[in-house]
Each structure stands twice: as C-alpha cells, then as structure tokens.
C-alpha cells in the first residue's frame, strides 16, 4: 500500500498514527524513522494492523488524496437530502427569489403508498387578489427560481402533493417581500435638476454607469418622460 502524502503530515500527526499502530518506541524515533516504519507496516504482504478499524481510518486520511487531509476523520459526504420536509425562500434580487426544499424519506414513502400523485409549488401573493399559481415539480427537483412580478408584495410558497381530487400541504416557506422603491412610482420627481443632483448623481459614475439595474430602470423612466 502506497502511503501517499504521509510526508505532508505534521510531526504530531505522524506520532499520533504511530501510537495508534502500537509502534514500539515511536517517541524516540525521528520523523524520517517514523515514516519509514509506518510505510513498512502498510507495505503489501506485511500488513499487521493493531486494529483493522483504525487502519481503515488512517488509510482514508493518508492515502485518499481526493478527500485530502483538509478533511477530519469521521466526516461524511454532504447529503443530497437532509431527510426533513421543509421549504425555504430567500430574496435574490428585486424580481427573483431562490427557493429550495426537501422531502423526508418517511413522508415520501407515505405519499407513494397513497397512490399516484404530483408534486408542486404553489406560489401565493399576500395582500392581493391574485390567485396562487402552481409550478409542477418532480421528485428529483430541489430548487427553483421564483419570479416576483409585483413590487412591494409578499410571496410565499407551499410545497404540495396533489392526488386526484385532493391536495396536501407538505411545507410552507417564509414570506419574502419584494422591495418597492419610492422612486419607481415617483420618477417624475427626479426630473427636477436639483433633485437629480442630490439623489441620482451619487449613483452614476462619470462615464454614465449606474450602480445597479433597478437604478438604471428608474433613470431610464425619467429620461423617457
């Protein structure tokens, strides 16, 4: 077995491994002697692990260059799904929110036992007569970008399962509120040169670049009036 990168470990780590391998007299060995001794232990055909479990653990930290010694012992790969049923919604910008969800194995099994169903995201707008709209999703989906067409409104999502004739809410997200800039509705006020100098000038570079797209939209509105 080739101990790749054992020389990248610190003295303390090498001594720790030697101790775990019950290497006699390890405390009196130099670094080079320790490495040589460990390489002998792991040499093919001469494997005498003190403890099989420990050997597998050390080999993971020494040999596996994919995981590298940036990782600590005992950690597991990141799960694809945290086995909880929940949905979250985060504001990304003024027009979009980022939404992600998961369904626990238990909940998924229960759904599957009840017959054919479709999963969906139902998007609601608070304080509005707008009806919720449905986004069909699959079992493999876990995130979506949600458009926020109306400024100043609150949006939230329900993760639902639809069976024929009925709908079950699996989880509900937080409400995100789409910002509603004053000057998006009152851009005529910016036509006043003094107001422009005070409010808009600090948002434009000398070359005419605007600080962000919403500001650019507002300025375009003003210029088109």
């Amino acid at each position: 077995m080739n101990l790749v990168n054992i020389d990248r470990l610190s003295d303390a780590e090498i001594k720790y491994i030697a101790k775990q391998e019950n290497l006699e007299g390890y405390e009196d060995l130099s670094r080079e002697e320790l490495i040589e001794a460990l390489e002998e232990i792991y040499d093919e055909g001469d494997v005498k692990p003190a403890n099989e479990h420990n050997t597998a653990k050390f080999l993971k930290t020494i040999v596996n260059t994919d995981s590298d010694v940036l990782q600590f012992p005992g950690v597991e790969p990141l799960p694809k799904n945290y086995n909880v049923t929940e949905i979250h919604c985060i504001l990304r910008d003024y027009n979009w929110a980022y939404c992600f969800w998961s369904i626990s194995e238990l909940d998924m099994k229960k759904l599957e036992s009840e017959g054919p169903f479709r999963l969906g995201l139902k998007a609601y707008v608070t304080d509005s007569s707008e009806k919720p709209y449905l986004i069909d999703i699959t079992k493999n989906d876990s995130s979506w970008s949600i458009e926020l067409p109306w400024p100043g409104k609150g949006y939230y999502l329900k993760l639902i399962a639809q069976f024929s004739g009925k709908e079950r809410i699996l989880a509900q997200s937080e409400t995100v509120i789409s910002p509603d800039p004053y000057f998006q509705k009152h851009s005529t006020e910016l036509r006043n040169p003094d107001t422009w100098d005070v409010l808009v000038s600090p948002l434009l570079s000398n070359g005419g670049e605007t600080v962000c797209t919403i500001t650019e939209e507002i300025i375009k509105n003003v210029r088109s009036l």
């Binding site: 780590e13 600590f72 597991e76 995130s143 800039p181 600090p202």
Partner: protein, 545 residues
C-alpha cells in the same frame, strides 16, 4: 465644508493549516500584510510624524484579527518576508546588467526591509497594536464586522445565527482593542430591513451601506447619499458614493487602470524559469505571485513597457489632485440644494491599496496631504460626523449589497454556488437544535458543541461562495465550505447518538481554533432575550486576548 468619510474594510477569510509546513492559501494573508497593511500603516505613521492630520475608518474583521494574533501564522509570515528578501537579492544580481530593472528590484528590497523594520520595531510583531495606537491618538476609528464576514441577507429568517455573527464580531473587537465598536461594517454591504434591530443590541451606532440602499428605500430620501439616515430604532446608515468611488473602483474608468501604473498580473513567479523560481513558489511547481513585478499596465496589449516608478508616482499625484477637484466640484454643485455640508462615504476593501493597486497607498497619501492643505475639504469619521450632525432623516434603507448586480445574486447564483445556502441554512438550524436539546453542557460535550458553533460560523463565511462564483481558487473554496458543513453534521449526528468523536474534536480544535471565547449556547433562541455580553466585558483588565 466637504466631509470625506473613507472606510477601509480589512478582511481575509480564516486560513490556517498547521498540519502543513507551508500552505498556498495562507499566502493571501502574507501578501496582504506585506503589500497592503504594513505599507498603509507606514504611510499613516509617516503622516503622523509630520503632524499631518487625518481621520480614517478601518474595519478589521475578526478572522483577520485572529490570524494577525496567531503565533504560528506570524512566524510563517516572518519566513515569508525572509524568503522574499532572499529572492529580492537574487533579483538584484540577476538584473545587474539592466539598470532600470535592477533599480526596481532594489526598490522592492528596500520596501521589504522597511516592512521588516516597521513590523519588528514599531509594531513589536503585533500589527494590530499599530492600528490601535493610531486610533488612540485620534487618527483612526477602528470598527468591527461579523465573525466570519458572513453575507447576512441569506440568514434573514434565522436571527439567532445573524445575532451570533454580530455578537462575536462585537466581542472580538472588545477583546482585541479593549473598547466597544461604535460602527459596524456589513460584509459586502449586505443589508435587509430589520437587520438594524440586531445591530443596536450590541450598542452599534452606525453602519455603512451600498450606494443604492437609500435611493431605493420605500420612502423618499431627502439628502441622497450626502448625509446619513437614521433607522426608526436609531441606527445611523451611511451610503456609499458610487460616483466618487468609481473613480477608483471601476475596472474600466478607475485610476488603477491607468497605463502608467504597475501591472499586477505580470509577476516573475509566472514569468521566470521554474528552476530559478522554485524555492519561492509552492510544491509541486505551483507558480504563485511573488510580488516582484516589473511591467506597467501599458494598455490592452501583451507587450508591456518597463514600469517607471517616477512616472507612476507623478500619475498618483495627478490622480489625487483630480480626485480632490471632483470632490470640490460636487460640493459646489450641491450648494443650496441640501441644508447641510455634505459627507461623501467612500468605502473600499483595504487590500485594494498596495496589493491590487500598487500605487494606491501613495495616492491615498497624496489625497490626505491635499485635504490637509484644503480649506473646503476635511476627513472625518462617521462617529465624529454624528457628533457634529446628530439629526438625520428617519428612513428604513432598502435590501441591497455592493455585490455585482446590487443584491444577493453573487451568493445565490444558480449556476455556481446556490447549493451552499441549502447546506449552511441546515447547519444553522442544526446548531440551534443542538443548543436547545443540549443546553449548558460541560467538559467534553461542551467543547464538542462549541466547536460545532465555530464550524457553523465558519461555514457562513461569504468568501467561499464569492470565490466559487468568480471561479478563482474554486477547489480550495469548495473543500473549505464542504469541510465546515461536514463538521457540523458530524457533531449533530454524534450528539443524536449521545457520542463524542474525540479524534475529530482534537483535530478540529487544533486547526479551526478561532474565537476561543465562543459559547455554543449563543445559538439558543433565548439568547436573543439576554443583554449583549459587550456590556459585561471587563474593559481595561490585563488579560490574554
């Protein structure tokens, strides 16, 4: 009077790898100290000696404070300086027959020696003490930021996590500088309405926001960015002046793009023969920036002209004069349009000066000198401005950031890094659950849970998703963020089985040893009802910080 409010954000992510004799990403710290922080400090001390008045604000992040106080990292920094000096002397020999280039190498060696001298004899190997001295003598206001430079709008619905970031930032500042921070730098100027409630809990009086934050409020701003506003709960907010900062910040129009300035990307670490440069780069033959750069930007061409420091210095003087003129012209334009003297908030990453923009430190010095000679411009810190003008329009700013796009697009990019938020939010939820299920533990379980709290804060760092979005040191960033999340998951899984993985704990505590004073119970929701620990911290006591 035109009030100029410079705010410099000095921050680096926590990178510390004791398990390696040398680690590539630790160079970020050494480069920043050698090329930005020490040159900035030397410049400020020189002005102080000449009795030139100035008032600047520096935010020094908790992660940077930790690294600057870490004996292993500072020892490695000294090795880095020695190795650069050795390379510099080799360069002088190599360039012995090329007068112009050799003079450049001699300049670099002189600067390195000046840094060594300042670091050793003025800072006594404690860089933070130099900043502290400047603040105590009235030249600086030093403020804090979140524990791990977390982009807070992502965690808006998790106030315990946001509070933990702010609290650790405030507490770290108290421990390092022995005083409360009045101001707070929001990482990436990331703000959402309601965040101010958590800031004032820790006696923060003011913060700095992105340029569009006031203009895009639901309410009408009266004085634009030329005066701070006050949130309904009393927190003052200063908005960045995009017009003036773009004179420096813009990659297309800004001063740093001038053809006479030094080209950052032409470095001998990449240009010279591998055999020559090998001792100064990373194994195995990973070329890195050495700081020895001999070419001017010249233009959009691969054929660069040799850098001329006198020409560049003259350009920096001209740009300083141009900058001052812009301020005066803006002030004239505003006369009689607002009912008070304007303030221009000019916030930058500190590392722009000296590192990314080599002439930036000189430019800043010339600006300070020009202002010192001016009757119509003064430098002022936000705290001093608020002493002068405590009245402000009450207004809630808008959700915003200074990131590309102006909001959260950089940190929630579907194509590169949005997956991270899924995991970090789960980490925050798990940490809260652990604090609720296992409150007030002691001994090994306390250490285990507290290390999980450290890992949670480290996972919330904005640096890794930023790097992944920009595709720079992607591999390392992915490993780091993955590692921290995995660590939280390990503690969670173990605690659910009433187990403690001691091997993990020993290694994690040794490497991620940041914030020794942290207590995992801060993730319990009831912690939000308690007064901030900055009120009970023992200021003035002599203790190991």
């Amino acid at each position: 009077m035109n009030h100029v409010n410079f705010i410099f954000n000095a921050h680096l992510p926590f990178v510390r790898h004791p398990e390696y004799p040398k680690f590539l990403e630790e160079d970020w710290l050494y480069e920043a100290i050698n090329e930005s922080y020490l040159p900035l400090l030397r410049m400020m001390f020189k002005l102080k000696e000449e009795r030139i008045k100035f008032s600047l604000t520096f935010s020094i992040s908790p992660t940077l404070c930790s690294m600057l106080q870490d004996s292993l990292l500072m020892e490695r920094f000294e090795s880095y300086l020695n190795s650069r000096l050795e390379l510099g002397n080799k360069e002088i020999d190599r360039l012995s027959s090329d007068d112009e280039a050799r003079k450049l190498a001699e300049n670099y060696v002189a600067n390195l020696n000046a840094n060594v001298d300042f670091y050793t004899n003025i800072c006594n190997r404690n860089i933070l003490s130099a900043f502290n001295l400047l603040e105590n003598e009235g030249f600086l206001e030093i403020i804090t930021t979140t524990a791990t430079h977390s982009y807070l709008p992502l965690y808006k619905d998790f106030p315990v996590a946001v509070n933990s970031q702010i609290e650790i930032g405030a507490l770290m500042h108290s421990r390092v500088f022995d005083k409360q921070s009045e101001g707070f730098w929001l990482p990436e100027c990331g703000y959402y309405p309601g965040l101010e409630e958590l800031l004032v809990r820790h006696n923060i009086k003011w913060t700095s926001l992105s340029s569009q934050s006031l203009f895009q409020s639901n309410e009408k701003v009266i004085r634009g960015n030329y005066a701070p506003v006050k949130c309904p709960n009393g927190l003052y907010c200063f908005a960045r002046d995009y017009n003036l900062t773009s004179l420096i910040w813009s990659s297309s129009e800004g001063y740093p793009a001038d053809p006479d300035y030094r080209e950052f990307y032409r470095d001998i670490g990449y240009d010279l023969d591998i055999e020559y440069i090998r001792p100064y780069i990373h194994e195995p033959d990973v070329r890195v920036f050495t700081g020895f750069k001999y070419w001017a930007i010249t233009g959009k061409t691969a054929e660069k002209v040799l850098y001329n420091p006198e020409k560049a210095d003259n350009k920096a003087k001209l740009h300083a004069k141009h900058f001052i003129k812009q301020i005066i012209n803006t002030g004239k334009k505003l006369q009689n349009k607002i009912d008070r003297d304007p303030i221009y908030t000019l916030s930058f990453d500190a590392e722009l000066f000296g590192h990314w923009w080599y002439e930036g430190v000189s430019w800043l010095e010339y600006v300070i000198r020009e202002i010192n000679d001016s009757q119509s411009i003064c430098l002022i810190t936000p705290t001093d401005y608020l002493d002068k003008y405590p009245d402000a329009q009450t207004l809630t700013p808008a959700f915003s950031s200074w990131g590309e796009g102006g909001y959260s697009q950089v940190w929630l990019d579907n194509s590169t890094n949005a997956w991270i938020a899924v995991h970090t939010i789960r980490s925050v939820q798990r940490m809260t659950e652990l604090a609720c299920r296992f409150p007030n533990q002691s001994s090994l379980k306390y250490r285990f849970l507290t290390q999980a709290a450290r890992e949670t804060l480290l996972a919330m760092a904005s640096d890794w998703p930023f790097i992944i979005h920009n595709k720079t040191s992607e591999e390392y960033a992915i490993k780091r963020i993955t590692g921290h999340i995995q660590n939280v998951n390990l503690v969670y899984d173990n605690m659910c089985k009433n187990a403690v993985n001691t091997e993990w704990l020993v290694k994690a505590e040794k490497r991620n040893n940041i914030f020794p004073f942290i207590d995992y119970n801060m993730f319990h929701p009831s912690h939000l009802e308690e007064p901030s620990p900055i009120y009970t911290y023992n200021y003035g006591e002599d203790k190991a910080k």
